[in-house]
Symmetry: C2
Subunit: 531 residues, 2 copies
């Protein structure tokens, strides 16, 4: 594995800036070679100008050609082979097996978006034909479809070094929409990012995609990201990370002379409600499922259930006992990097200090700081305390969860109402639970982007119906998803063409419907040509 350490701008290796950093293995705190060079303001400017220039060509490539390019990226990522898996594992502390899964999802996303744009109906073509004889005024011919926004900046997440990073869902959906992408690599996995970027470059060269369509910039602090968001040629931002960082980027984007959309996926506690029927029927299975859900990936999923709510009583007590045993048996795990591990422990300390909150259970095994480990911990409290302390409704990233017992349905609903916006909310429900708790469901519908029944929230499917986005602060824009085929809508806007002759129309809007896509013609959904 021969890593270079410089940014990659428009198909070329950038200059070696003076300021360097390096990755660290969270498994053993060892320095990983090589040095990486932080991008400069000039690098940002170059990457954005090249992206803007490439946009003119890239957006006019036929969708089928863009689809072939996306498929080629998937193939090239596979071709990067074990080097990629090993570097990702070394930089993140996550096992190789996990990266085989995550790579599958990453490549699957490219193929899914390739299929979506090859089919083509996502452009939401609408045609209202002319009504020359209409009274009192004729109607002109009006046609509309979605077109790409322009250069997109993507800031990769640390917790999915493949699937939410350099070639993650943001990059795949933006390239699918027709937007060039400038990625700021997450500084915890710069080597993984470099390998992936080269895979994208190979696909670009083989498919005659203009060089500026993809760039990868390195940087450790907030500066490169802020420069990218401020740059006048940037048209939108995709981000996955903390609420603090996401909000700072959102604020910068909103303060621009021309504000741009920001799709920041930030914090979520993913409340999970165990309703009486479920609690009665399957406490053991729930205890096991919950333990897996809050410890998988060392609790570093954005949909980890961080708050568990139920009505108190003998049945919840019995569940708690079983859950306690599960937590004690759960092993500590290596977190992604030192910063996240420190933040996890600071979060535990914060919660411990709140009167009325107790440690319910923790792993029997001590965490090893040299291995950047976190130990699974569950806390417990009552609804009164939960309602009193806003900090309990904030995310603690890592293998942490908080059990909340309510005395009455009213208290349970009050706890639900007190929650901030969420990616997911879950109900475990048997028998008449869902009917009995219809009001609770109504509350959760307003809080979350996705409501699950009898599931555990990690498990984000890349499919048309997926919604991975919810009311603030889960995301900055609940109207969009960062996972699933609908994610492409973030990078497009409608363009209306009025009175255009057939010969000057894009294929999607031509009478004959040469792409064979679904369109809305005079208010009717159809694949038929306009006659």
């Amino acid at each position: 594995m021969n890593l270079d350490g410089r940014s990659l701008i428009a198909g070329k290796i950038a200059h070696a800036s003076a300021k360097t950093f390096h990755a660290v293995s969270p498994q053993n705190s060892a320095r990983l070679e090589p040095d990486f060079h932080e991008a400069t303001a000039a690098d940002v400017d170059l990457a954005m100008h090249q992206a803007d220039e490439a946009f003119e060509i890239y957006r006019q490539m036929p969708a089928a050609a863009r689809a072939d390019f996306l498929d080629a990226i998937a193939a090239e990522i596979m071709a990067a082979g074990d080097d990629l898996l090993q570097r990702a594992s070394a930089e993140s502390g996550l096992p190789i097996e996990r990266f085989m899964m995550e790579r599958g999802r990453t490549c699957g996303q490219f193929k899914t978006f390739a299929a979506l744009i090859r089919e083509g109906s996502w452009v939401d073509a609408r045609i209202d034909t002319a009504l020359p004889d209409r009274q009192p005024m004729p109607r002109p011919d009006i046609r509309r479809h979605l077109v790409p926004l322009g250069p997109v900046v993507v800031l990769g997440a640390s917790n999915f070094p493949l699937a939410f990073s350099t070639a993650g869902g943001d990059t795949a959906s933006a390239l699918a929409a027709g937007c060039p992408v400038v990625v700021k690599a997450h500084p915890a996995h710069p080597g993984t990012s470099e390998i992936v970027a080269h895979a994208i470059y190979r696909a670009m060269k083989n498919h005659h995609v203009p060089d500026g369509t993809f760039s990868l910039l390195h940087g450790t602090g907030a500066e490169v990201a802020q420069e990218l968001v401020r740059h006048p040629l940037t048209r939108a931002l995709g981000f996955t990370g903390s609420e603090r960082a996401g909000r700072a980027l959102f604020d910068t984007a909103a303060a621009r002379p021309e504000p741009i959309p920001v799709f920041a996926e930030m914090g979520s506690t993913n409340p999970l409600f165990i309703l009486p029927g479920a609690l009665k029927n399957r406490a053991g299975a729930l205890a096991q499922g919950l333990k897996a859900a809050f410890t998988i990936g060392v609790g570093q999923f954005c949909t980890k259930p961080g708050i568990v709510l139920a009505l108190g009583g003998a049945e919840f007590d019995s569940f708690i006992e079983q859950f306690r045993t599960q937590v004690q048996a759960a092993a500590p795990g290596t977190m992604l990097h030192r910063g996240i591990c420190d933040a996890f422990h600071a979060g535990l300390d914060r919660v411990k200090k709140i009167p009325g909150v107790v440690v319910l259970a923790e792993s029997d095994t001590d965490a090893d700081p040299a291995k950047t480990q976190a130990e699974p911990v569950a806390f417990a409290t009552d609804a009164d305390t939960f309602l009193l302390h806003r900090e309990l409704r904030e995310e603690v990233f890592g293998p942490y969860t908080l059990l909340v017992s309510a005395q009455t349905v009213t208290e349970l609903e009050a706890a639900a109402r007190s929650l901030p916006g969420q990616l997911t909310a879950t109900l475990h429900a048997d028998g008449t639970d869902l009917a009995d708790f219809a009001d609770l469901i109504r509350i959760l519908e307003r809080k979350a982007g996705r409501v699950l029944v009898n599931g555990f929230s990690p498990g984000v499917e890349v499919c048309p119906a997926m919604q991975h986005g919810g009311p603030y602060p889960a995301t900055t824009d609940a109207r969009y998803t960062s996972v699933g085929t609908a994610a492409i809508a973030r990078w497009a806007r409608p363009l209306c063409l009025q009175g255009f002759p057939e010969s000057s129309l894009p294929d999607a809007l031509r009478n004959a419907n040469p792409l064979g896509i679904q369109r809305t013609v005079n208010s009717v959904l159809t694949r038929d040509p306009v006659v």
Copy 2:
């Protein structure tokens, strides 16, 4: 006509606050009775709380019931009869005939949105059925549809006292989506707003719509609007007005603890390019059409062509001569209110001071200040001057337009590139013009939400393919339209339901497809039930 002058909050007449204002007839500067009472911070809070409470009921009303309510609003607005037309004319200075047209469009919008939600497919239902045997992990059942955001604030425009105001497109589309609406009446037409609000209230009572679903607040300054945007229960904002006011509201919304989407439709100069073939073939008709387009409604349309660009030469000179005659013959007209009239004349003064800009022609008739009149004026300059002075690319609201002659195609394209975001851009093109100027079209596609060929831009159709929204500063969010059926998308977000039993699903997502809507089932668009 018996106007009361107090705000209307959740079906009731609000208290009479101490601070009052009154409308003024721009036709004769006379005071119009009665006094109107400015809403207080407590009124804002009450209206928003009532809206939020009503939301729980209103959003669960069947779409067919909401559609009947929308149709009833249209009928009640018609039933308000001549009182409405007369008051609108008195408050705006626009003729009764114009309001017969505008009322038709206003009612038409309600009927169009009623039909849209009665048909129902706008909720973009997507169903991915469970794959219990999938390896390595089963897929759960995942379903998604659009749900309303919650209480929406609408700030009406002065230039369409019916179609973009109290019961304008923002209100109609938000109510259609299932969102309660709180309108801040434009202070230039408070009486018109009161009459329309009562029409909405009659429809609400007859259709058992909860009281909080609609409120109308009065206010002259920015305070009431700012309070509404800051209110924690406000979920989105619709606005039509100046760039300065729109940006101030956008900034407030972005600075909230939970930012909310702002759909502000602001300034646009709607550049119009006359290409050589068209110039040669039909200079006379173009001169006549342009004169009508920039003076209709006293130039107070957001799509008024404020910049006209062409290649200089004998043919453009001939066009200019014909256009000059047209402008001289155009009569002055009464503007909407003193503030707009003053801003128009200040705009003319600003342009006149720029070296290299000349007054090409103005109305032979002097404007009468007592009648709040503006005189049509056309200016001319060259592309060099145009590129040098950013002010020339800013909107002058009223019967103003600027002719720009370029020496070369390169200059013409540079002028196009220098433009800020636009609602519309227009090309007049004959013969091979469109093919010859393909690069210019590519530039305009990136600048505007709607590109017209051989049309004049006023003429916004309420239809599926319409796009009335464009890159900043035309609007704050180019991804949405404020006119046409797609306007409903501004007030909705996706809600995903995973693993829900059939009995707990909303109708739009049930297997049997009881609403008969178009859905995406396992990636296929269909109206078939799920089997």
